[in-house]
């Protein structure tokens, strides 16, 4: 397997970090600022896509930034798993940027410069998480991601945003400093390294109790994955502007959490060791509880974004669940779900934002008949929800199918039941929205003169919605690249 030492990974991480500077400097000229955003986003996709062929051929790129601790450098490595995540994140960022421009301008939001700059730093950190070659580097970018998204969550600068910002930081920083950092130190003192290695770095000779402790610390510590009881920040963070919710809290931040957990399970502990210590059950149990509870809570939410947030919490645990099954198909499904869910959920969030831009409506109960005014948006919404529920012909089906196979392979019937029940619950909380929008007759306030004037959201919002919705469909028919990357990541 070819391992190239190259500056490309660093360039891919840094381009948007450095890009924040021209964005900040062109505060007074919004068109140039947005131009920068798009240029950087395209550049990022190009940089990452350029590395794709080598990675698909089984190679990897590596770059050492600094030697900071004995045996643990700050190092970037582009392997299949990182490439998988980075590809999704950078691609979706491009469309989120376009969507953001439409959304922010339509709403005449304040502090757009800060918004775009923070966004650029956040995506940089996300790619850093994807490309991290060891746990320390991952932690570094994970923290930068937490901190750079704070201004986005607190964007509104009102009392609600303040409270949410607090909650967000308390959960995210509290767990990363309080749980992950000690876990890393213990791991380092056990093994003397933090490198991600296929098959894990922990031998079977370690003390079972210590390993159990570490698994607990890591699974709960990466609170961005929203494992209960450390999930409450995600619904709270929904006060942010919708592009933030859609990209960061649908893709980048939450997936960074799930990705970190999967990284740790696959490349620090290793499936075999976890099997040996019989820790898979713990992970799957925690994930199952989160899936069911989050789906049930989602049913009760009237605020569309909050419902999506609880849905996200449930879906994130699918990924952890898949990894915890420790069977080939299960792990494939878990990892694949990162990509499939990303496309589906970002579509849903984009739609929620478009609805808000067009009609200023946040609550599901107000959306009666809206689908006839905004057919494209709600059509995309329908596709997105199908993907999340896991119906063909949408991408979500493939990952869910793998998960089901995995549970059967591993003879874990309770997990199968969890998967099926939760799919039903998904359908139960998504389809009524679509039904209401298209078929319910508007009553009372919703039927007034004003409501009739509602039209589709601006074009800059609609294009990304269509692209991601079509992407979800396309992923069902052409999942080859993703499958190949996942296979390479799990079984090199």
């Amino acid at each position: 397997m070819e391992n190239v030492y190259s500056i490309w990974p660093l360039a891919a991480v840094l381009i948007s970090l450095l890009g924040a500077i021209p964005i900040l400097l062109s505060d007074r000229t919004p068109n140039i600022r947005e131009g920068w955003t798009i240029v950087i986003a395209v550049g990022k996709v190009w940089l990452i896509a350029a590395m794709l062929p080598t990675v698909l051929a089984g190679g990897s790129f590596e770059f050492t930034i600094a030697q900071v601790l004995p045996g643990v450098p700050i190092q970037l490595r582009v392997d299949a798993m990182g490439m998988f995540f980075a590809l999704i994140a950078s691609f979706l960022w491009l469309f989120t940027s376009i969507y953001s421009i439409g959304y922010m301008r339509a709403l005449e939001e304040h502090d757009q410069t800060r918004y775009f700059a923070s966004f650029a730093v956040a995506i940089s950190a996300t790619i850093g998480v994807a490309f991290a070659a060891n746990l320390l580097t991952l932690y570094l970018f994970y923290e930068i991601l937490s901190l750079s998204t704070y201004p986005l969550v607190a964007h509104e600068r009102n009392a609600e945003a303040k409270a949410s910002g607090r909650k967000y930081l308390t959960y995210i920083l509290g767990t990363s400093i309080g749980l992950v950092l000690p876990a890393m130190v213990i791991l380092y003192s056990l093994t003397g390294t933090l490198d991600f290695k296929s098959g894990g770095i922990i031998g079977t000779g370690c003390n079972a109790q210590v390993i159990t402790l570490l698994v607990v610390l890591f699974v709960f510590g990466f609170a961005k994955a929203g494992i209960m009881p450390f999930h409450a920040w995600l619904p709270a963070a929904m006060v942010a502007p919708t592009p933030v919710s859609s990209f960061l809290h649908g893709v980048a931040v939450v997936k960074a959490g799930a990705f970190s957990i999967l990284r740790v399970i696959f490349h620090i502990f290793g499936p075999e060791q976890l099997q040996y210590f019989n820790l898979g059950t713990f992970i799957t149990t925690v994930a199952s509880i989160t899936i069911i509870v989050a789906s049930l809570v989602a049913l009760t939410q009237d605020n569309l974004k909050r419902r999506l947030a609880y849905s996200t919490i449930g879906q994130l645990s699918y990924m952890v669940l898949g990894a915890g099954m420790l069977s080939a198909a299960g792990m494939t499904g878990g990892l694949l779900h990162i990509g499939m869910h990303a496309f589906g959920k970002i579509t849903l969030f984009f739609c929620a934002g478009a609805i808000y831009v067009a009609s200023k409506k946040k609550y599901i109960s107000e959306m009666d008949g809206l689908g006839r005014r905004m057919p494209i948006t709600f059509g995309a919404f329908f596709l997105g929800s199908m993907s999340i529920i896991g119906l063909p012909p949408l991408g979500g089906f493939i990952s869910k199918w793998n998960l089901v196979i995995g549970s059967v392979q591993g003879n874990q019937i309770p997990l199968l039941i969890v998967l099926l029940v939760s799919s039903l619950l998904n359908a139960a909380y998504f389809l009524p929205i679509v039904y209401r929008a298209f078929f319910a007759v508007p009553q009372g306030e919703a039927a007034t003169e004003e409501a009739v004037k509602i039209q589709e959201a601006p074009l800059l919002c609609l294009i990304p919605i269509c692209v991601t919705a079509i992407g979800s469909v396309a992923l069902f028919f052409y999942p080859d690249i993703f499958l190949r990357l996942v296979q390479l990541a799990l079984f090199p």
Binding site: A66, R157, P182
Partner: protein, 500 residues
């Protein structure tokens, strides 16, 4: 011939200029800035060469006035003291740039007095890190303390009273140290550290006296560095000092004293003495440090003023370092030494930011900080980096020393210390995000949409004299963080074999 004396010039330049500043500053204030910056710039530049020299050619000893040790006063330049020399002069240089501006605002017409004391303080600190003589150390310690008393006393409001309390406490500390030196002198008849160490090693009996001497030395230094139960003087003294003095005193005084503690522990006494023969004491002190960290962090909570909050954080950080040294393993000690460097820079960054904020807003209580991200974006950006370093967010330097300390604690099995470190990181996170939140939001009452057009606040950055050192320090925090591997391998690990 300059080369062999270079480190002396590093120390002498500020000393000579101290008197020149006083003389020429009387004639015209215009003399002050070039002299101060010239002297400190030279010191910093020289210290870089000294470090380079020591790293390439190994450590050396220097006898002042050609009187051979143990009769004459000896200086020792190993990688550690050379690094401290560089640290002191760099921090002093950066601090002085900012001090020049803030002093001209706070103490107009008295710049030359201020900078005379300021430069003598730096010379004293430079001397402290090099000296290898127990009594000389006392004298230099008092030189730095007396100048600090004066600098703090120049502040307004409660400053004189705080300074007086500091004098009393500082003198108790110094006297204890002197008593300890007296015991050592009676035991060994020598004042040279290396000489004492050799004689103590071959000493039969006298265990109680040695232990007493050690106890006096330690307690004396702990008072001076404000180790937790003995910290009472520090918050008042540091928070009432003029901004120009605060940026210099807060980063350096406690850190240099921690360095002195390491010197005394390992150059005069031996690890075997402290950690093996008195293992009970060693355990006790790690416990005390853990408690110190927690208590000081909690005390920081109740403060409603940025500078006072920072002073309590300094007290907590002292706990980090003392605990790290007393963990009795290489990792902990490396962490403690690395933390000396990091903490000095972090504290410098935060105090420089505080001084810049105070320059514009006229105060540092939390009410003054509202909406600062709009008003002073660059200052607050640097402040944020400093805050992240204090919390321990990678890649800022604070993370790496904390890493070593936690690892050291885990290796030594002192889980209470690990818990205290993690807890204090969390507390720091809350403390700093409280401030960041206040500075992020414009006013107490909520602001929705629509309002934002009227509240266009004009950017009112601090003057460049305050801003430049701040930005440089913030960048240094990250640079030092990324190069902490080099620092540990090339500087700290080189010294450790001598110590263990």
């Amino acid at each position: 011939m300059i080369k062999q004396n270079l480190h002396m010039f590093v120390m002498a330049a500020p000393l000579l200029c101290a008197f020149a500043v006083n003389l020429l500053g009387r004639l015209s204030r215009a003399w002050v800035a070039p002299l101060v910056l010239g002297a400190l710039g030279f010191s910093t530049y020289g210290a870089i060469f000294v470090l380079q020299e020591v790293l390439t050619n190994g450590s050396f000893r220097y006898v002042v006035g050609n009187w051979t040790a143990p009769y004459g006063i000896e200086l020792v330049l190993d990688p550690l003291s050379a690094m401290m020399l560089l640290l002191v002069s760099t921090v002093a240089f950066l601090a002085s740039i900012s001090a020049l501006k803030s002093v001209s605002q706070e103490l107009p017409g008295r710049e030359h007095f201020f900078f005379t004391l300021f430069l003598i303080l730096i010379a004293g600190l430079n001397g402290l890190v090099m000296t290898a003589d127990a009594f000389n150390l006392y004298v230099l310690l008092e030189i730095t303390s007396i100048t600090t008393y004066g600098l703090i006393g120049m502040g307004s409001g409660r400053a004189p009273l705080s300074s007086f309390n500091y004098i009393i406490m500082g003198s108790i500390g110094a006297c204890f140290y002197l008593l300890g030196v007296g015991y050592l002198y009676i035991l060994t008849g020598s004042l040279n550290m290396a000489d004492i160490s050799t004689i103590l090693g071959g000493l039969q009996g006298g265990n109680v006296a040695t232990a007493t001497a050690f106890a006096f030395l330690m307690v004396g230094l702990w008072v001076k560095m404000a180790f937790f139960p003995l910290h009472g003087w520090l918050p008042n003294a540091y928070s009432h000092a003029p901004s120009g003095a605060g940026v210099m005193i807060a980063p350096l005084m406690t850190k240099v004293t921690v360095y002195l503690m390491i010197r005394v522990m390992f150059s005069i006494f031996s690890p075997e003495f402290e950690f093996v023969r008195h293992a009970g004491v060693q355990n006790l002190i790690v416990w005390v440090s853990a408690i110190a960290i927690i208590c000081a962090s909690l005390l920081a909570f109740s403060q409603r003023d940025l500078k006072r909050m920072l002073t309590y954080i300094i007290v907590a950080e002292v706990g980090y370092m003392v605990g790290g040294v007393w963990l009795a393993n290489t990792t902990g000690l490396s962490g403690a030494i690395l933390h000396i460097v990091n903490d000095a820079l972090m504290t410098l960054c935060l105090f420089l930011a505080a001084s810049a904020i105070a320059y514009r807003t006229g105060g540092l209580s939390f009410e003054h900080l509202r909406g600062l991200y709009r008003k002073m974006p660059v200052t607050m950006a640097a402040f944020t980096i400093g805050a992240f370093a204090m919390i321990g967010v990678p890649p800022t330097c604070g993370f790496f020393s904390k890493w070593y300390l936690i690892l050291g604690g885990a290796e030594a099995g002192h889980w209470e210390f690990v818990a205290a470190l993690v807890l204090s990181s969390l507390v720091n996170a809350i403390l700093f995000f409280r401030i960041i939140e206040i500075a992020f939001y414009p006013t107490e009452e909520s602001h929705g949409h629509g309002h934002h057009e009227q509240e266009k606040v004009k950017v009112q950055e601090a003057p460049l004299m305050l801003l430049n050192p701040l930005v440089i320090t913030a960048v240094l925090l990250i640079v030092v963080g990324l190069s902490s591997g080099t620092i540990v391998n090339d500087v700290i690990r080189v010294v450790l074999p001598d110590l263990f």
